[in-house]
């Protein structure tokens, strides 16, 4: 039986077939935030992801079918709303996000969404050129709308407050956080800020997001951004 939650922080870890990487992620996360509740969203994994998560003391939301990263995150947000958590940290189950940086995300006050950027620190990361161009390009576009520089537009390493979580639990139309999500949140009136965080190369296995064909990605993003701008301003609560 789950004991009463120890603190108001929920850590959401979406995972798809990450039985190899999850144990380290959960253990390291718990070392950094021992009072937080950890929930792993198992996105229709075919391996032992759910079992491994459970055996390491995490709560597990097992999706019956694979819905994709965005929907898995949203499931975590729905859980947060149901359980009454006011602070949520999201981080990847593949080990790319260093739990040691969680503190950096949490120490920012008064901002609805804190996004961890791997490019604000001194470390350098290898990213395929096409992907890098896309990130910079759409980061600039997103930055135009938020009025602040967006250096790591697809970063899934974030801290959100209750207001942001309640909004995203109801409104998460995309399959991956990207420029369109940044713009959507801006239009909803959520404040955003970036802080430097450490990221790592994947511990093992294939990347969570498979390389999208560049052209289709650019088209998808343009349409998504256009449509986000055309819709009525979303309201919160």
């Amino acid at each position: 039986m789950e004991t009463a939650k120890k603190s108001n922080l929920l850590i959401v870890i979406p995972a798809f077939n990450e039985e190899k990487n999850l144990p380290a992620v959960i253990v390291e996360t718990r070392a950094v935030e021992p009072d937080a509740t950890i929930v792993v969203v198992d996105d229709g994994s075919t391996d032992g992801t759910a079992e491994v998560a459970r055996s390491h003391g995490a709560r597990v939301l097992s999706l019956a079918v694979n819905l994709g990263y965005g929907a898995a995150l949203q499931t975590g947000f729905l859980f947060a709303v149901r359980e009454g958590f006011e602070r949520v940290v999201i981080l990847d189950g593949d080990g790319q996000h260093d739990p040691g940086s969680i503190g950096r995300l949490l120490e920012v006050d008064g901002v609805d969404v804190v996004r961890g950027s791997r490019f604000l620190g001194t470390a350098r990361y290898r990213i395929p050129l096409a992907r890098r161009i896309g990130m910079v390009l759409f980061g600039r576009v997103a930055g135009l709308f938020t009025g602040e520089p967006v250096t790591d537009v697809t970063s899934g390493f974030q801290a959100l407050n209750g207001r942001a979580v309640r909004f995203l639990a109801e409104n998460y139309p995309t399959d991956y956080p990207d420029a369109d999500t940044v713009i959507l949140m801006k239009r909803a009136g959520l404040t955003q800020e970036e802080v430097p965080v450490a990221m790592r190369e994947r511990l093992s296995g294939a990347p969570m997001v498979s390389p999208t064909r560049s052209f289709y990605y650019v088209f998808k993003m343009c349409l998504s951004i256009l449509v986000t701008l055309l819709r009525e301003k979303p309201r919160i609560d």
Partner: protein, 124 residues
Amino acid sequence: MNPRIRAMALILSVVLLLVIIDLVRKRKLREEYSWLWIVTGVAIFIAAVWQSLVVWVTELIGAKIIVSTLFFGALMFLTVISIHFSTKVSQLSEQVKKLTQQTALLSEELERVKGPRNAGAVER
């Protein structure tokens, strides 16, 4: 192609694009399904504007008149979009099956945990 048909095609393609974008905007059409329609709208637009391209395609497919090309294009489009929908429906069917099965399994587990009715040891 006479100018009137080209003008019609031009207007039609623009209207189509606006309708599709508006449907996506209102969330009545998911973005992922819109791209094929947008590609079609753009293709009609190009065909209306770029006559020599249509003529070239006509010769390529061995048709005698340009109208055949347009009908051919329309048929190809309908075939492709039907196949697209069929695959999506197949995927959805698979998902529904999995969800239904999960529900059955969860239901069994829940009933077992709740215990036989009126005989549970739950404190009130």
